[in-house]
């Protein structure tokens, strides 16, 4: 029954189950169902649609708007506001190259040029200039298909695209203790393919 306490829960959200035969729609339905069909699930639904459809086609966007009972004009407006939503096909591989000051002084523009040149050849790769990716201590940085890469070298860009991890940074190097408060437990993150998150080190 649709008289719910949460403000804004529209009555017209279709609450049909995830019976949609096309798997891509099911992913969107799951995201919407997780947030009980409330209109505020729009970004989560668009994130799911972007991931499962590759881009927000007119069809995908219309489906999300109808399922949530959100005006299509609002769904379209939201889809054009946020950087990571693409209304046109983005190709299989997707690459963001940060060009903000820290990465810029580390040579990001050259990396971007190399990546764009590689994308031109590969065709199935989309390269975008991006704002800060939160890897300023290990610039130039890139986000390729959701994975972060640090210290990217212009000449190593091609390797990056075909899975080469050359540019990945070494793992974190041990405990970080804070100035005379031994039980402070800030930790660098997991080892493995993610780049070094930077050491949190303290004065002795």
């Amino acid at each position: 029954m649709n008289v719910t306490a949460k403000p804004g829960a529209g009555v017209n959200a279709q609450e049909n189950g995830n019976t949609h035969e096309d798997g891509r729609y099911r992913a969107v339905d799951d995201a919407i169902a997780r947030l009980d069909y409330a209109p505020d699930a729009l970004l989560e639904a668009l994130n799911a649609a972007q991931e499962s459809f590759g881009h927000l086609s007119e069809e995908a966007l219309t489906y999300v708007a109808r399922q949530l009972g959100v005006p299509l004009s609002q769904a379209y407006a939201v889809a054009t506001f946020y950087e990571m939503y693409h209304l046109t096909p983005t190709g299989a591989r997707h690459c963001l190259i940060c060009t903000d000051p820290a990465c810029a002084v580390a040579g990001a523009e050259a990396v971007l040029a190399a990546a764009e040149q590689h994308a031109g050849a590969d065709g199935d790769v989309r390269v975008h200039r991006a704002t800060c990716l939160g890897l300023c201590d290990q610039g130039p940085a890139a986000l390729i298909d959701g994975r972060a890469y640090a210290n990217v070298k212009a000449d190593a860009v091609a390797a990056l695209f075909n899975g080469g991890g050359a540019a990945r940074a070494p793992a974190g190097d041990g405990r970080a203790a804070r100035h005379d408060a031994p039980d402070r437990r800030a930790r660098p993150d997991r080892p493995g393919r993610t780049p070094r998150r930077g050491r949190v080190h303290r004065p002795e």
């Binding site: 699930a41 609002q74 820290a102 974190g172 930077g198 004065p203």
Partner: protein, 406 residues
């Protein structure tokens, strides 16, 4: 080094003892009192006293109440929240639960920027682990306190670091900041009272609650109490996240903890990110406190310390920052939507060689007008970096105008 989502390992190191103490031995008002007494202020950049925020939210009449963790972290040069959350998500989540208990919130969100999919995965795994362990959901730690926490992902918009724009994103809308008042403590997400804090601010709460408010007061003082994470980047030998007490000097931070700059003494240090300002070498001995740095137009902000050596073209960096704000302005209010574009055009003209002396006057009046009339922090701080260089790096401009550009 602990696995970030290995709950037992972290509990063995003392995780959630603060929460346990709060839920078993403290009333919500006690928790608020400790946070107020500790002098903890917001670490995201705004610096609002966290204790007051919790107190106002608890006092607000609207129901239900919410707690939000602002993990949008899009300020250029900032990466401390990512390090914290991918390294030790439990610490911040414990802070979120403490805040919820303090204000009486039943639901909370961690808003994670779209560009941090890996961090989102780690945080989700941590949340799931906590639900399984009875530290989230119904009757947390058998205390009768219920609290649900979920992740809401952004999709690439620097403006969503502004708290009300963040609420708009959670509510499924574009990130257009709201007018203040009303403030989030009475009308936050879904128009309900909301306590929203930065990752680093929340991460300090468990220690404050466990050790009592006095613990934080060991370091710093005045409006800069306690310890702060700084993000060293740019031309510094050992870039990374460094946690030091307020009051440490900039030079100390760069040379002792950053291994010093390279290729000679730094030409300038960008403090506080794109919304901050450039510190002139003459002021490198300034202590890292709000009181000392704000008057110099180089605020601590989110803790960015970005070092530029001598052969960096500051004009080019200013143009990058101007372009950043043209790209990130949400476009809602006139002075920012059009002002950022006109600042970028003026800087292009000056660095391109056909700048005129009154362009500098035009930049100054446009920048000061934006600081007074823009609707939100983005617009107000967009001209900061440029204004700081007009004040402290005037020779560079004179050279550009006289010498026909870079």
């Amino acid at each position: 080094m602990l696995d970030p989502t290995d709950l037992d390992a972290h509990r063995a190191e003392g995780a959630f003892t603060g929460l346990n103490k709060a839920l078993t031995a403290m009333t919500p008002e006690d928790v608020i009192e400790q946070i107020k007494m500790s002098g903890l202020a917001g670490r995201g950049g705004a610096g609002f006293p966290t204790g007051l925020k919790l107190q106002f939210t608890r006092a607000a009449t609207g129901m239900p109440k919410y707690v939000v963790c602002n993990f949008d972290e899009s300020e250029p040069g900032t990466f401390k929240d990512r390090v914290l959350m991918q390294g030790d998500p439990f610490r911040t989540i414990e802070g979120v639960i403490l805040s919820a208990y303090a204000v009486g919130a039943t639901e909370g969100f961690i808003f994670i920027r779209g560009e941090y999919p890996e961090a989102a995965a780690v945080v989700q795994e941590a949340i799931d682990t906590l639900y399984d362990a009875g530290l989230l959901g119904k009757d947390i730690m058998g205390s009768g306190f219920d609290f649900d926490l979920s992740i809401r992902r952004g999709a690439g918009a620097y403006i969503c670091g502004e708290e009300t724009a963040l609420f708009e994103a959670i509510e499924g809308k574009q990130g257009f900041p709201r007018l203040k008042p009303p403030f989030p403590t009475t009308h936050g997400v879904f128009g309900r009272p909301t306590a929203i804090s930065n990752v680093e601010t929340l991460a300090l709460m468990p220690d404050i609650v466990r050790n009592g408010g006095e613990w934080l007061k060991q370091w710093g003082g005045g409006k800069s109490v306690g310890i702060k994470l700084f993000c060293l980047s740019g031309h510094v030998k050992q870039p990374g996240v460094v946690e030091v007490p307020y009051g440490t000097t900039v030079r100390d931070l760069v040379e002792r903890f950053g291994g010093g700059g390279f290729d000679g003494a730094p030409q300038a240090i960008l403090m506080g990110g794109a919304a901050g300002g450039f510190l002139h070498p003459d002021n490198f001995d300034t202590p890292l406190t709000n009181e000392a740095l704000n008057p110099l137009g180089a605020p601590i902000g989110s803790g960015v310390v970005m070092v530029f050596n001598q052969n960096v073209d500051l004009g080019a960096v200013l143009k990058t920052l101007a372009r950043f704000f043209v790209h990130e302005s949400c476009g809602k209010c006139v002075p920012c939507r059009v002002g950022t574009v006109q600042i970028a055009k003026l800087l292009d003209r000056i660095t391109g060689g056909d700048g005129a002396p009154d362009d500098l006057a035009r930049l100054e009046s446009l920048g000061q007008m934006m600081r007074k009339s823009c609707l939100c922090g983005l617009g107000m701080s967009a001209p900061n970096a440029m204004l700081s260089t007009l004040a402290h790096f005037r020779p560079m401009y004179d050279r550009l105008i006289a010498g026909g550009g870079a």
